[in-house]
């Protein structure tokens, strides 16, 4: 067992949480589930499987996670972030258990390769595999980017090495739930674009420090080029690139659905939501009013700029 603590953020994950915890148990000395007041059996199941469950009001993924690493009583040398719908492959489990304790002290982070499983099929093509993410770091050496979407871990000191084996992002919910989730992601991503465009929030990290070149390059393309083209060109070219140039068609039926929805529809939706929200923002007189409008869009009543804290209220 490596000296590692696994943190899982949850909201209504009864379908996945047992699987995630069992997977984490293969490597972890401590498992924390940080739940944002699930209304299903998530917490109960997590406790039954031996995780330590803490509940904390959710604002956005990034703030929740930062709260977790700042406040949980973590005692291990290493910390790992795992999503509730993810699992570790057995190969990765052995690699972590064997290699992590042997890393030199100059290494403070470990990137892992993600494979995405969609409708039961591993999507190997279309530039979706492997996606390399910083998921393990020495306690205290990393923070999370404060963004509404696509937040990544950033190493504050030291360097990262990559492990060879994969973890899987394998969500078991249906297409309806995929659409619902991406509908919400699209709103958040649109908000990210507009916050940057209008410099609305101080806490928002722009394309600052990146732990890995893949992410930095992607983000730069997205922010400089993509968000300025007519709304259809980006999504259409991105889809064609993924589906044809990057051989997405080799992923079969599941690949068609995944690449169409995730590359084409989703990117298109973000584009028109930016447009929709921007119209709303332009009709407003000042920064305060714009921030309040953004808050309302996602169901938060106010965003306190001075403390950079967002207060959730039930509206």
């Amino acid at each position: 067992m490596a000296e590692i603590c696994v943190i899982i953020l949850t909201y209504n994950e009864e379908k996945h949480i047992e699987r995630a915890i069992s997977s984490a148990q293969e490597i972890a000395a401590q498992i924390f589930v940080v739940d944002s007041f699930s209304t299903d059996r998530t917490c109960e199941i997590a406790r039954a499987f031996g995780a330590e469950v803490v509940q904390h009001a959710y604002i956005v993924q990034s703030r929740q996670f930062q709260w977790a690493i700042d406040n949980l009583p973590i005692t291990t040398e290493w910390v790992m972030r795992l999503d509730a719908d993810e699992t570790l492959t057995p190969e990765l489990v052995s690699e972590i258990n064997q290699s992590l304790p042997r890393l030199p002290t100059s290494v403070t982070g470990v990137t892992l390769r993600r494979r995405h499983v969609f409708m039961g099929r591993w999507i190997r093509h279309g530039a979706r595999y492997p996606i390399t993410l910083l998921r393990i770091w020495r306690r205290g050496t990393a923070c999370i980017e404060l963004r509404w979407m696509d937040e990544h871990m950033i190493l504050l000191c030291g360097r990262a090495v990559g492990f060879k084996h994969d973890f899987s992002d394998h969500n078991l919910s249906d297409l309806s739930s995929f659409i619902r989730k991406h509908n919400e992601y699209a709103t958040r991503e649109a908000i990210d674009v507009l916050i940057d465009r209008y410099h609305l929030l101080e806490w928002h990290h722009g394309p600052a420090a990146f732990t890995n070149i893949q992410m930095a390059a992607k983000r730069r393309v997205k922010e400089n080029l993509y968000n300025r083209l007519p709304i259809w060109i980006g999504p259409a070219s991105y889809f064609l690139y993924r589906y044809f140039v990057r051989l997405g068609f080799l992923d079969g039926q599941e690949g068609i659905i995944y690449h169409f929805l995730q590359a084409f529809w989703y990117r298109f939706l973000v584009g028109i939501k930016v447009d929709e929200l921007e119209r709303l923002l332009q009709s407003l007189p000042d920064r305060e009013a714009r921030i309040a409008a953004i808050g309302r869009t996602i169901g938060y009543s106010s965003i306190d700029l001075t403390t950079t804290r967002i207060t959730k209220s039930e509206i």
Binding site: M119, D174, L175, S176, I179, R180, N183, E184, A186, T187, P230, I231, W232, Q253, I256, I257, F260, L261, W265, F268, L269, I272, K273, D275, E276, T297
Partner: protein, 309 residues
Amino acid sequence: MLSVIILTRDEEIHIERAIRSVAPIAAKIFVVDSFSTDRTCEVARSLGAYVVQHEFITQSQQFEWAIGALPIETEWVMRLDADEILTDELRDEITEQLPKLQRDISGVYLRLAYVFMGRKVVHGGRSLKLLRIFRKGAARVKRRWMDERMVLMEGHAVTFKNMMFDHNLKTLTFFIEKHNDYATREAIQTLCEKYSLFASENQSSDEDIPRGGKLKYRLKHNIYDRMPYWIASSAFFSYRYFLSFGFLDGKEGLAYHFLQGYWYRFLVGAKVEEFDRALRRLPTSQARRTELARLSGFPSVATRETDDR
């Protein structure tokens, strides 16, 4: 002379506009609400509508219940959605023409176009003709999971010239949510037809298709439904956007044609595929119905109460 029926659920942002849009021509306005959690009923009552509440299963069943149960006293009945509005010209046309219709005319088709993100979408083959006014007792609703249709049981229909608009004021997020739900319903409809899960004659037939719509209907059934859905939806979008000049509707039109004419059609196909993977392995209709109910999250699929008579 004319009663208007509006089905609602959480329509407080639209209901006043809808009621005011038909108030000048309606003898009575009925709002059939499926237990809104907002101020819909309150607003409707304050504007003089007759409000009843009734549990919702499908749009067609709700409307069928309405024409059977409401105390309709007028000769004509009109169906309006809460997010729709009539143009002044259409109101005038209804007022002038309806009383002059011959006895053998028992239905009126109205032309409907969409307003999306504030812009009229008039190209891309999106101005529809829908049977929306009929003589009391002369029409029935065909039970379907999606796209409920009125069918005339007697007499003929005419089409009025002027337009009405579907102008929803809610956000894109809501549009996506709604179409996500529609796609599930349409996938259920498709699979019920594929496996003959309906008890009786609810298989699609072209009996009730308006004359002008027959070609479109045949195209859909003989060509569209036989292609893999991702090809069919791509072709359908190209047809709407390029051949039917959808590109003239601007940025909003693009968003609408892409979402409603491409993504939505694609999603229906993908959900059919998703559900069918489980269904095609099952031996009996009852097993399929039970599984489809479970997968889709619509328990009433398992029972027969949603079947057409």
